[in-house]
Assembly symmetry: C2
Homo-oligomer: 193 residues x 2
């Protein structure tokens, strides 16, 4: 069992409705040691890939993306999201449905921050239905840039995001993949990698 | 002139209405080298202060806070914001008016992530009217914890936030303090520190 699986078992809380709450170390309070290990492990898993930009989406992807940008020594871009459709003249825009907030969000990146020469590693804290990742991929492609891989801390293996992305031929790395969660027993089974 | 003042002069864009746009290196695309320098400089300026937690507010404060948490080796907490007033049983909540979005935001932190023993350094990318900083201070005090200082990258010296906070006795450090901006001439004068 790796460091993140151990941390999830120790500090994660399973809520009803297949919700895993890990905001005590990943997406509200940040355990900086875990973020460092996540970033190192993602860099290790993508060691054979050239990366010159890290792309994530606000807000909770930013911590991992910053630490990864620090390790790679490359710029980090975080896509913004909002409900309102502003002028898109100067932005690449896509859409992602937020299951948490039950609404469609616009996701956008200002055009100067993605160039056709960019080799982009997309990172995020969670991969579930893949809505955010698919929106980010769409944006990278609009810019004529290349998606070198998608790296996430926690993948909810019961949801379809990882399957869609891998079927589309993307190199996806998830440090912990949850195969099964049981609310009554507060138990989690991870996919062996 | 320090590294951040130089960077602002080189890459910042002054927009009409006293708006400084530095989203090419700080709050949309992140120049990781600048973030590293900002974090180091804030740690240097607060060297005589004990800190065991970094607090910021989503989204654009997270990059600086993460790098600072990495340097201090302490947990980082980012306050969340939203318009809806959810149950506050398990949260410390305050309010901040967003001049950018022209609305009042609730700002909240889950109670377990601020303890009375915490010595908190509040950090953010910008300090203008001080709305976000005052909300974070309010939240730290609700938790019975201590505000050790407020560190920001860029302070808009023409706006009242810095004055309010310093008058209240807080130790405020801003790496670049803008004294005057001129849209027609695209010129910026910084306060000498």
């Amino acid at each position: 069992m790796n460091f993140l699986e151990q941390k999830i078992l120790k500090d994660g809380v399973i809520k009803q409705g297949n919700v895993l709450k890990i905001d005590n170390f990943l997406n509200h309070q940040i355990d900086i040691n875990i973020i460092r290990q996540i970033a190192s492990e993602l860099k290790r898993r993508f060691h054979d890939v050239e990366v010159n930009k890290i792309l994530t989406i606000e807000a909770s992807g930013i911590a991992i993306a910053t630490m990864l940008g620090h390790l790679y020594d490359v710029p980090v871009v975080f896509a913004k999201k909002g409900q309102t459709a502003n002028s898109t003249d100067d932005k690449y825009m896509s859409q992602a449905y937020s299951f948490t907030h039950k609404r469609m969000n616009n996701v956008f990146v200002s055009k100067p921050y993605l160039q056709p020469t960019d080799k982009v590693l997309i990172v995020d804290d969670f991969l579930a239905d893949g809505q955010a990742a698919l929106a980010l991929i769409d944006i990278v492609h609009q810019a004529g840039a290349k998606v070198m891989g998608i790296g996430v801390a926690v993948e909810k293996g019961q949801q379809k995001g990882g399957r869609i992305l891998r079927n589309d031929g993307f190199h996806v790395e998830s440090i912990a993949i949850i195969e099964e969660m049981n609310y009554e027993e507060q138990s989690i089974r991870f996919l062996e990698q």
